[in-house]
């Protein structure tokens, strides 16, 4: 047991306790949390900073508004409903189209508008929010992801998670939904995580349920070796989100849309640690490198990251 602890300590792996004590509590001021916890605020903030986000169709804040839902939804062929304070991809409904008054979900099943009303009502009463606080529901543009991921994801939307520390991109991964994860992009729900080389934007080996895999378990296509398009832009958006929120240690979730390019999906003040597994590298050495530096511009930070955080597996 202690042998493992020693080895992973040597590899620079950060545990939950250390992440909380040494980074989140130190670099993330609590007063900035609402900016990232409420996805509507994040959206508005991103717009102010000129960062592209999936378009907000409507925000539903009180139960009464639910009655207007069918009218609102008839305006859009496809859309996503999600809680503003949701976490870990919970409470998200993706509608890909409408047929004869029914809505088609991303898994192909049809739901009535009554079901969507109930879903929204649940969101408002706060079952998906932390602590059961009353919540808001977001109806937004459904991202049509870039064809590069077509063969290596099962339904759902693959997204790119970049950890930034003091505005410097530290580590990145791409999360690929699987059948098991139910279209959600969360590692502990069974989706695939593939590390991405910060320097080149190239995917490394993939990790599925804590073990290294070569291919996507559902599609059978190789995951490693892809180059994520617009990598410069992705790094740029990630680095700029530090100015946006003021959080020193945060996770930036980005998606690649066919039409609009990279979009900022959401920010996370307590990003998970599985990214280390996906990259097969500990975060600690990289974070320490940044701690002793001072940067004057976004460009400088990105350049520093590309120069220093080249993956050992490329």
């Amino acid at each position: 047991m202690f042998g493992i602890a020693k080895k992973i300590r040597a590899a620079g792996v950060i545990g939950v306790n250390q992440r909380n004590a040494d980074y989140i509590l130190k670099y993330n001021s609590r007063r900035f949390y609402p900016l990232v916890d409420d996805k509507i605020r994040t959206k508005l903030l991103a717009k102010k900073f000129g960062i592209a986000v999936p378009e907000l169709y409507a925000a539903i804040e009180i139960q009464r508004q639910i009655n207007d839902l069918p009218k609102l939804l008839s305006l859009h062929d496809d859309f996503v409903i999600k809680p503003a304070h949701g976490s870990q991809g919970e409470g998200i409904t993706v509608i890909t189209g409408q047929t004869r008054g029914y809505f088609r979900k991303s898994d192909g099943s049809l739901v009535a508008s009554e079901d969507l009303k109930f879903q929204v009502s649940n969101i408002l009463s706060g079952i998906y929010s932390l602590g059961g606080q009353p919540d808001k529901a977001i109806i937004e543009y459904r991202v049509k992801f870039d064809p590069i991921f077509e063969h290596i994801s099962y339904r759902g939307v693959p997204d790119v998670r970049i950890i930034i520390f003091m505005g410097v991109p530290v580590m990145a991964m791409v999360r690929l939904p699987t059948q098991e994860s139910g279209g959600k992009a969360n590692l502990h729900q069974g989706c695939i995580g593939a590390g991405v080389d910060i320097a080149t934007g190239q995917t490394l080996h993939a990790v599925w349920k804590n073990s290294v895999v070569q291919d996507h378990p559902d599609t059978g296509h190789q995951v490693a070796g892809l180059v994520i398009p617009h990598w410069d832009q992705l790094l740029d958006i990630a680095a700029r989100s530090y100015e946006m929120t003021g959080l020193g240690y945060q996770g930036v979730d980005l998606v690649m849309d066919q039409k609009f390019g990279p979009l900022l999906l959401e920010l996370n003040a307590r990003p998970g640690l599985n990214i280390q597994i996906a990259n097969r590298e500990g975060l600690s050495p990289r974070l320490k490198k940044i701690q002793v530096k001072h940067f004057s511009s976004v460009r400088e930070r990105v350049a520093f990251a590309r120069e220093n955080f080249r993956s050992i597996y490329v």
Binding site: I8, V13, G15, V16, N17, A21
Partner: protein, 509 residues
């Protein structure tokens, strides 16, 4: 910087706790271990008699405080009797009186008695009794006089006189004066009685001592007797059973003289039942009692000064930090997942009151039925707050039902279900269904069994006699727990469950 600050604070709080604990231990003599029992005993007398509609006057001999014996606590329970205690003839008596009583009468006396084994009970001469009148007359008196005369010739002093007399009384030749005095009855009480009578005839002041054997957990204890005689200005005990000049070991000397324990006027069939038991917290209580006389401000700052019910509350409350400390370790060092942060500790507290097995059973029962009802409510598509309120009401209703049904079935353990924290139960049910729906039954069961496991460990920590004793007697020891918890607040090492999780990164493959 912060690390250092926390470290210094931890050290300070820890040393403060340690110092205060040490002071209480070394200076105030609070024992460190619960089984360091100073001989403290709970004596319970149940006295019964049958009254016949006439005025009743009963007198019961009570133990009294002398050097080496303190009465820490005393209770009388009697229905409708006037009570008064009185010290006469070197004895303490409880008088129970009633103008009119009919039928079987029962009363209880309970005392907590501490007998210091080091300070021997050396009673000073008490001349209020007349130790000279032997109470013998006629042929008995002549026999006694003859015995004493013959022994006096063969003895050197009072001690040898007593020893010779005792051996002659214990082995009487069948036709002698000794057997006349004993009238064929050789029970030790009678031997003691005759010893006292003959000593008095020989002008040696003597008295009968009635005592109680202090053995742990003895129901219906028997009274024994020995004697004390006057020698060189003080009372010397003599035990005819052993022939030694000391009172029997681990015996409490209760009262002097030939009066019975209970004497009743105006009633018949009087009977006494004596129970003795050793006490767990005794040594601590004794230190407490002695502290009162020492007027040490710190020693009076103790929980045992509070009323009994309040003490019980604190006995429970002071266990909570122990449970919480354990929880912190299990969550932050081991990495177990539970429903709600402190829910397992509260559950463990409830288990403490209900007993583990029943607790787990009742808890699972309420949780299971509550879950079924919650799944049904899911179909009704209720809003969150009313739904939660419904669950709380249902939980309360379930608990009431369990209590009523189990009581009807004669299973009074079921009544303890009322001790469960209702809201915690309701929240657990709600959280569990949400997890069940979103992440599947597997995750829900993992979390609920994690909670149970933690509750179980907390239960064992919180029911440990030693831990309970420590938190109650040395509440300042909790400062050390606080220090350790503070320290854990800056524990940045891996959680145990992270080791297999990050094993891929150990570079072994």
């Amino acid at each position: 910087m912060k690390q250092k600050h926390v470290f210094i604070l931890c050290l300070f709080v820890f040393l403060l706790g340690l110092g205060l604990t040490g002071y209480r231990w070394l200076e105030l003599n609070f024992p460190l271990l619960p089984d360091e029992t100073a001989p403290t005993w709970r004596i319970e007398i149940q006295a019964t008699f049958e009254a016949k509609g006439a005025p009743v006057k009963a007198s019961l001999m009570l133990p009294q405080e002398t050097t080496g014996i303190s009465i820490l606590d005393e209770h009388f329970v009697s229905r409708g009797y006037g009570l008064s205690t009185e010290k006469t003839d070197g004895n303490r008596r409880l008088y129970l009186t009633k103008r009119q009583a009919d039928g079987k009468q029962t009363f209880w006396y309970q005392a907590l008695i501490y007998q210091n084994p080091i300070q021997e009970n050396i009673a000073t001469m008490d001349y209020s009794v007349n130790p000279r009148s032997s109470g013998l007359s006629g042929i008995d008196l002549i026999a006694a006089q003859e015995i004493s005369r013959s022994i006096e010739r063969a003895s050197a002093d009072n001690r040898t006189f007593v020893r010779l007399l005792s051996s002659r009384l214990k082995n009487p030749r069948s036709t002698t004066k000794e057997s006349l005095l004993l009238s064929g009855n050789k029970r030790s009480r009678s031997v003691s009685k005759v010893l006292v009578a003959v000593l008095r005839v020989a002008c040696i002041p003597a008295r009968l001592v009635n005592g109680l054997a202090l053995t742990p957990d003895r129901r219906s204890a028997r009274l024994t007797s020995w004697i004390e005689f006057h020698d060189e200005g003080r009372w010397v005990p003599f035990n005819p059973a052993t022939g030694l000049f000391q009172k029997p070991r681990d015996h409490l000397s209760w009262w002097h003289g030939e009066e019975p324990l209970l004497s009743v006027v105006g009633a018949v069939k009087s009977k006494t039942e004596i129970a003795v038991s050793g006490m767990l917290f005794s040594a601590f209580r004794v230190a407490q009692k002695e502290g009162e006389t020492r007027v040490d401000p710190f020693s009076t700052l103790s929980l045992s000064g509070l009323p009994i019910q309040t003490q019980e509350v604190y006995r429970l409350l002071l266990m909570v930090p122990i449970g919480i400390f354990l929880l912190v370790i299990l969550r932050n060092v081991i990495g177990l997942r539970t429903f709600g942060t402190f829910m397992p500790v509260l559950i463990a507290l409830a288990f403490r009151q209900t007993d583990l097995l029943y607790g787990v059973f009742l808890f699972s029962l309420v949780l299971g039925v509550g879950l079924l009802i919650r799944f049904y409510l899911e179909h009704l598509k209720l809003l969150l707050v009313p739904r939660l309120a419904c669950i709380v009401i249902v939980v309360i209703f379930l608990m009431t039902l369990i209590s009523i049904v189990s009581y009807k079935l004669g299973w009074d353990r079921g009544l303890s279900v009322a001790l469960f924290p209702i809201v915690i139960l309701a929240m657990t049910i709600e959280r569990m269904t949400v997890v069940w729906d979103e992440r599947g039954p597997k995750e829900a069961l993992i979390q609920v069994s994690g909670s149970f496991f933690v509750a179980l460990l907390c239960f064992y920590a919180m029911t440990n006699d030693f831990v309970e004793y420590w938190t109650f007697v040395f509440p300042e020891a909790l400062l050390m727990i606080l220090a350790l918890t503070l320290g854990l607040g800056r524990y940045t090492g891996y959680r145990l469950v992270e080791l297999p999780r990050f094993k891929v990164l150990s570079g072994s493959d």
